[in-house]
Point group: C2
Amino acid sequence: MTGAATTPAASATATGWPDAGLWQWYEERRRASTSTVTQVPLDELRGWRTDPVTGDLGHRSGQFFTVTGLDVRGDGGPVPGWQQPIISQPEIGLLGLLVRRRAGLECLVQAKMEPGNVNGVQISPTVQATRSNYTRVHGGTGTPYLEHFVRPVRGSVVADVLQSEQGSWFLGKRNRNMVVEAVGPVPEQENFRWITLRDLQLLMGLDNVVNMDTRTVLACLAAVLRPSTRPTGDAFADLVARGFSPTGGAVERDVDVLSWLTALRSRRPLVARRIGLATVRGWHRDRHAIDHDAGRHFSIIGVDVRTAVREVPGWSQPLLRPRGRGVVAFLARPIGGVLHLLARACVQPGLRDVPELGPTVLCRPENYAHLPAAHRPPFLDAVLCAPPERIRYDCVLSEEGGRFHHAENRYLVVEADERVPVRPPEDFRWVTPRQLAMLLAHSHYVTVEGRSLLAALYSLAGSCP
Amino acid sequence: MTGAATTPAASATATGWPDAGLWQWYEERRRASTSTVTQVPLDELRGWRTDPVTGDLGHRSGQFFTVTGLDVRGDGGPVPGWQQPIISQPEIGLLGLLVRRRAGLECLVQAKMEPGNVNGVQISPTVQATRSNYTRVHGGTGTPYLEHFVRPVRGSVVADVLQSEQGSWFLGKRNRNMVVEAVGPVPEQENFRWITLRDLQLLMGLDNVVNMDTRTVLACLAAVLRPSTRPTGDAFADLVARGFSPTGGAVERDVDVLSWLTALRSRRPLVARRIGLATVRGWHRDRHAIDHDAGRHFSIIGVDVRTAVREVPGWSQPLLRPRGRGVVAFLARPIGGVLHLLARACVQPGLRDVPELGPTVLCRPENYAHLPAAHRPPFLDAVLCAPPERIRYDCVLSEEGGRFHHAENRYLVVEADERVPVRPPEDFRWVTPRQLAMLLAHSHYVTVEGRSLLAALYSLAGSCP
């Protein structure tokens, strides 16, 4: 599906897209979003200042977020130490999806402009707001539909859990992922639309349409609303659906998955300590950016935003701009007739609890270009060299455009061949989609990339709940 | 049961204690534990030093733990700020209980001396060791039975989860709580004994016999092995057993309990920052102790230990000595025929995720003696003034004697009368024992005091799994 991005006609025909008006609406919203995003020097970001002592780049209000530094040491293990810039955003934002039951489940989505999006507007959940946003630190208009989440009607909450975000870019950040069932009629405001869960899942098959915040909330929904296991005639779709079913026999007992993670956590593989941005070794700041000395990993840049479609007409902010496109992939295979995913224990310094479970592969291959082949991430070649018939999902999806600039990852689900071992290396485990979904009722188990891929997999099941 | 402490004869008769040899063994172990614990000046603790810059009191090896300072601020809410000493112990210890199935479940327990115990020796789990201990930083003998937990046989893990400890005294501390089923015969080494789960539960009815580490592991076991709901003829015991049963109808759906906690966590009620011990306001250090200026809360003292029954013949260490005896209580009541406990969202600065669920009442009444009645903790009087027939559990239990000096709490389960509302204040919720137990498969949900009381409640169920 990579490359088919913005014209879904083929995909729509192939899958029997039921709502022709949806794509027109989305395209209209994109055209109506007359926004300009201009890179500006870091010292000229309106409302932001560089702390004279630490060098940290923060908002004058003390709210929103701060670009600071992190010192990371391995705890005697094989992981060496390093320093890096990182985004500190201690306040907890809200990612809220309002749903309702009609013939099937419907979701109230938003066409939302974010300055870091490659294509301006993407599909976002009903509410996507930092606490500073919705308590109106910026003095803008109110957040639509917020009341459904802040004061939910008794019995209407479907899922509500704090989840981590990118642990290499954020320091301990987490957002509240919430799904609430609407009580009574909820009209569509401008830029909002009720769409079926099936349509939202079909949009997941297109490049850069469904944003990260929608994907993580969808994953949390998958923990509650399992796909139907009614046979669809598509063998892989049926395998996926059964993989989410509570009856599916996993090779590892649930307690053994938890025990493996507990053992790894007890070893404290990383010790991370916040330091001033000015003191970070291996990085340098010029007028326009903070860059890695060897040009790897990411840059911090500044942008000025003008728009008619957000709570305020314009603002400035820093953005983290990753180098190159990442690869995020689950290897999958049936074991004993049940679909399993090869999860990796993901060690990132900004996670509050290290490790969390993540995809089999998560990397930016460019960062390994200077290293010998033996240092390439495990299973990267099994993913990149898979024959087309084994590639079950392949889309370019963006990470959060409110903090990251054009942060694209190629997300894949690849059926493993027999060279991938059933007994994996120590920091990998074969788990079922159900086991990952079950853990999503709780915090700090599955990384945001793992959740995105789980939402993608959820969309591959033949029939919706 | 308070006061009946060390002579269990009455209790044993009343409940039909099946193993007369158990008490003799425990008494023998206590007598054999010829240890002396002497208070010594803080500057004369062998192996410990005060950092000349921060004033922190730490071990020269950098291991074990450090007494440091904490600055706590409320986040604009009603909680005012304060500073305090706190114990930092980033490494994760192991609390491991080995079990086996005979006629009923049996547990391998240890009679263990800790310097802060009021009575020297208490019943401890099979393994109770910091990482420094079992990796032998102190150069002592090996930890018996450790191999069952470090390399468990496939399929033998019953429970394995990191759990928090006292959030007012420890900074982010957690221990690995692990239950493993023994494979093959496991002989009793000196100071160890296989006892039935029922006997261990009976010991829970005695003052200062079952230590904190055993109680928290028992609580995690209760999440997996539910008591039998076969009627016993004791109406309250049957009510407790049914409260642990998965069929029990709770007034709050599981997702609503999680959602309530998620909402509270999103508000960030406390912001805690580590500071140097020397800069802590409101506390002072003299030769023998670090004390609160008004004599409240706790002191930090130093002790010198001589013993023949531990891995090394002697050592020195700081201990935290609380002022006065605490009260830890759950109010309980049947709602719709199902037992519910009034859990409180417990806000403590040292918890990694604030709040966790804790008992209805957790306080040291002495700390409130100088305040007007309106500032007394909610429901404290409902607990302390309950008529005897409503008091279902009443024991003095100690917190961890390896860090705390004579830290006794009076633990109670009290049946609430009609003055306690079914619709509780915002930071309280009625939950079933099953709901608390279910959360114990995961980290950071239930405080250590909540877990102790849950283990006590588990012991009140008529019949064992």
